[in-house]
């Protein structure tokens, strides 16, 4: 199993967000007054409390799936000769198996290591990024609301397959170019 990387509780991006938060908060306090400041904070505290149980569930799902994933089985299904069916299976795998960046890239890299097709891996990462339910339910929905999330997911449904097919076409083009180069032999690689 690839090593699992830890989330750091405070890194440079959190620091940047914290700095922006403090600066924007100070601006609101001075320009719009204390009442507006408190109104904003109390609404946000409510949103945070609303998110907490979802985020905890999301973290537990990520940890449990990393433990339980039948990696060998999936890799067999999405191998290099898997064709369009392989892309479809990679798509469905990304929908069923949730995860965070902590888990998704080690899993994708493990797929590659046991012979999965690059197109299928691109589908897997793209589908997880755009349609993964864990991310949408835990993070996106509290911020952006159900209408927006459903709308975005509907228009995103075909996108992972488009990316996977493009990746396969690119690979084929690169392979073809390397082949002609190899034949003429006048260009060093």
């Amino acid at each position: 199993m690839p090593p699992r990387r830890r989330i750091k509780s405070f890194d440079w991006s959190t620091g940047a967000v914290a700095a922006i938060t403090v600066a924007a908060g100070a601006w609101v306090y001075w320009h719009d007054g204390q009442a507006r400041f408190l109104e904003s904070v109390s609404g946000d505290v409510g949103l945070t409390i609303y998110m907490l149980p979802k985020v905890l569930a999301g973290c537990l799902i990520g940890a449990l799936v990393t433990l339980l994933l039948p990696r060998e089985v999936v890799a067999r299904w999405v191998g290099a000769e898997s064709g369009l069916l392989g892309l479809a299976i990679a798509y469905i795998a990304a929908l069923i198996l949730p995860g965070s960046p902590l888990t998704i890239f080690p899993i994708a890299s493990a797929f590659l290591a046991v012979g999965a097709d690059v197109g299928a891996v691109v589908v897997y990462i793209t589908a997880w990024s755009l349609i993964g339910y864990q991310r949408a339910l835990v993070w996106e929905l509290p911020f952006l609301g159900p209408h927006f999330v459903i709308w975005r997911i509907i228009v995103s449904l075909p996108l992972p397959l488009i990316a996977g097919l493009l990746a396969r076409l690119l690979l084929r083009a690169i392979a073809a170019r390397n082949k002609t180069r190899g034949k003429s032999g006048d260009e060093p690689a």
């Binding site: 979802k54 590659l112 952006l144």
Partner: protein, 164 residues
């Protein structure tokens, strides 16, 4: 809605925990501990992300946002949103927080969909911290190039379909 989502998520947790439990109690408690540690580590990001988004919506110049990525900004607005989204650093909170801030400040929904899509696919920090160290360079670049058209397709698709 919120309760239904909580029930769904915790139902999944219970199902997975039962499967892990069948492999032994030590395995289960180890996984649960990992999950809780991740959760605790995320709390500061979450709090700053949520509160920061609220303040920023008050601070940002609305006219500028409306003219750049407002509902009438069309394809140019989608292009701007795509570039900004790709350059926005990662973390689960940042992109969605900026998206809702933009929406509150008058951005068009298709433009915000293009932004969220580009951010989801490219988030610079995720590339550097997670993808490049773990994956082969060849695959990382192939994925990056194959994903280039997607934010545009998402934004244009959202314009064509219209709000459901």
């Amino acid at each position: 809605m919120s309760v239904a989502i909580d029930i769904l998520l915790w139902g999944i947790v219970a199902g997975l925990a039962a499967m892990a439990g069948m492999r032994g109690r030590v395995v289960l408690s180890g996984a649960l501990r990992e999950g809780v540690v991740d959760f605790l580590a995320l709390i500061p990001r979450m709090v700053f992300g949520v509160i920061g988004a609220g303040f920023l919506a008050d601070v940002l110049p609305q006219q500028l946002i409306v003219s750049w990525i407002g509902p009438d900004s069309g394809l140019l607005g989608i292009a701007i949103a795509t570039v900004v989204g790709g350059l926005t650093p990662g973390g689960p909170v940042v992109g969605f927080a900026i998206g809702v801030t933009a929406l509150k400040s008058g951005a068009g929904a298709p433009q915000v969909i293009a932004f969220v899509t580009a951010w989801s696919l490219y988030a610079i920090q995720r590339f550097v911290m997670w993808e490049i160290p773990v994956m082969e360079a060849r695959v990382v670049w192939l994925r990056a190039i194959s994903s280039l058209p997607l934010p545009f397709l998402a934004g244009i698709g959202a314009m064509l379909i219209g709000k459901p």
